[in-house]
Symmetry: C2
Subunit: 361 residues, 2 copies
């Protein structure tokens, strides 16, 4: 049974279709193509699994398909790989009205979306996420980017897709480690704005890990609902949307500091969220019991609750590139309680340093 | 006497201040800065002429300035040079609210604007054009881009500046060849939508070439008025804005085919406009006398009215990457009369080929 959510952004509004098999449902995708040409950007891992299915769905509808198959992994989210997409688009004479379809996880979605934003100053774009993380988070909301050696997602665009096809069947082939990484972003929604969902997750995390389809469908839908609401209220992150970055300032420092791809994004966000919880505790906002409760859920989800020992000074240097820094001051997403996040610059450097040292040994 | 035009784009509206000395008028620029930091992107030719003046204006207002000095020329409008800007921005810990000021001609404006569009998914941006071409055309309207080996301006963004400081004094240092190249875009406004301006240009082209300040001020103001009106009506080029590309499909083919920077953009647009006029004549839309009248003005302006002999087949291949190609069909901006341009796909390949052969020998 498919479900449809709408991301309400005026003329940039779009549907998210969630269900098993939406990837091969021609009626969902064909009406969104402006012409009978599409480019499918995917990677070497996903292509053998889902490219043929998507391709034949499109071709049966009379659409000619150009596949662009990139290497897999966060370390390829670079200019060099992005240029491979542009080379392919220009080599095949793709037009401004050709649609770019990103088939893959967060890296493919971010990079495909950024390529679509820039090619001829903007071509239509469809997200087909194939990981839990991209299903619940990165495919929705129009944030696209590539990494820079000095910072993650530093170069990009806000560029909304025309459509998201969130096919739960793709989770069947997802490695356990990737599934667990996706749960970090699922738990995030509970922590920042949906306490009932957090409680539901405490009771149902085992079902999610066992890939129970009903539980997964519920978690994906509820996560996307949360994301869609936040994005509709604050598309360009001038306010509430920044709360979606709980754990991400620390997490990006881990990803950049360890070398892109060593820690999965979700793993880094998990450890980062625990550092943020630790800091919230040290500010007197969370009780020790609440921090333990959060930690317990992440552990049950198979996620790290300690960051790597890069040293607090290195964390702070890496975090100084964060997009939320304002007038030289680091602003962090912290927790007042489970279900309530705030943006704050109240924590001084010493307190931040202490929280990092406590959680990254 | 300064004049101010407004580009009416709702919440993205911005002023264009035209006059002598606006570059050093702190009151015009300081209120637009969100924080007391600015990055000035310029090149090795312009930096010795105007960087100190702009810098001290900003520094007297308490703004700290990071200059980024790039090599000069169209052939540097590439990923590699763009990355030099990102490296500098990240190296200096520039924030999302830091303002990027592009001080230079079209290449600096296009590349600085694209860097601003992408850095942390968008930072504030100010245009300070220092060539006639950028004063009357490229600094207004928010088109930013870099080139790809297969096509000019293929990768970019629509990204509006907060402000344009159009300082006519900068024309004092402009080489004659660059001044003439800028006139191609000035004449364009007359041809596509402002027949009275075309007549004015026929009488005043010598004054412009002699750098008469009153004449230049009038031509810049009238060009920017035309551009601002078109952009306000059609920001993303879904209709009328495409008419601003008169001569550009042929012109971009010349620039790409000859190697970026061999022909100046305005020179290529001049030759391209004559090919478009030739084609309009062959379609029976323009009389031979009108084509001659157009040719005469371009010749008086010191501009080429013949394209290089790349061969019609090469022109057509280069033009097949044009952003206006739709469903495999080339759409061209052609002339119905002086002051009236249309977008048309009526000219078949053979007619286009004949026009190219007649004008590129």
């Amino acid at each position: 049974m498919n479900q449809t959510l709408n991301v309400a952004l005026g003329e940039r509004s779009y549907p998210i279709h969630i269900g098993c098999g939406v990837l091969t449902d021609a009626e969902l995708v064909l009406p969104h193509l402006k012409q009978k040409n599409a480019v499918v950007v995917t990677n070497m891992t996903v292509a053998p699994l889902y490219l043929d299915a998507l391709r034949s769905t499109l071709e049966k509808g009379g659409v000619s398909v150009l596949p662009v198959i990139l290497p897999d992994g966060e370390r390829y989210k670079t200019w060099e790989t992005l240029n491979l997409i542009f080379d392919a688009l220009l080599g095949a004479h793709c037009e401004r009205n050709t649609t770019l379809i990103a088939l893959g996880g967060g890296v493919i979605g971010d990079m495909g979306g950024f390529a679509a934003a820039c090619y001829q100053r903007g071509m239509p774009f469809i997200q087909v996420p194939t990981t839990l993380l991209s299903l619940v988070d990165s495919s929705v909301g129009g944030k696209t980017a590539i990494n820079h050696p000095l910072g993650k997602n530093m170069i990009g665009a806000f560029y909304q897709p025309k459509l998201v096809l969130a096919d739960l069947s793709t989770l069947d082939t997802l490695p356990d480690r990737e599934l667990q990484a996706g749960l970090a972003e699922v738990i995030k929604y509970g922590l920042i704005r949906d306490p009932d969902f957090f409680i539901w997750l405490e009771s149902n995390i085992d079902k999610l890990l066992a890939r129970d389809k009903t539980a997964l469908a519920y978690a994906v839908h509820r996560s996307c609902s949360n994301k869609a609401e936040v994005v509709a209220a604050d598309e360009r992150e001038s306010g509430e949307r920044a709360l979606l970055n709980l754990g991400h300032t620390f997490g990006h420092a881990i990803e950049t500091g360890m070398g892109y791809g060593v820690w999965l994004h979700g793993e880094a966000v998990a450890a980062g969220t625990l550092i943020a919880a630790e800091l919230s505790f040290r500010l007197g906002w969370l009780s020790a019991e609440t921090v333990q409760r959060i930690e317990k859920l992440f552990i049950q989800a198979g996620l790290p609750v300690q960051g790597p020992a890069l040293g607090a000074a290195r964390y702070l240097e890496l975090m100084s590139h964060d997009k939320k820094v304002q007038d030289g001051k680091l602003r962090l997403v912290l927790l007042k309680e489970i279900g309530k996040a705030v943006m704050s610059d109240e924590a001084g450097k010493e307190l931040i340093r202490a929280a990092i040292e406590a959680r990254c040994t």
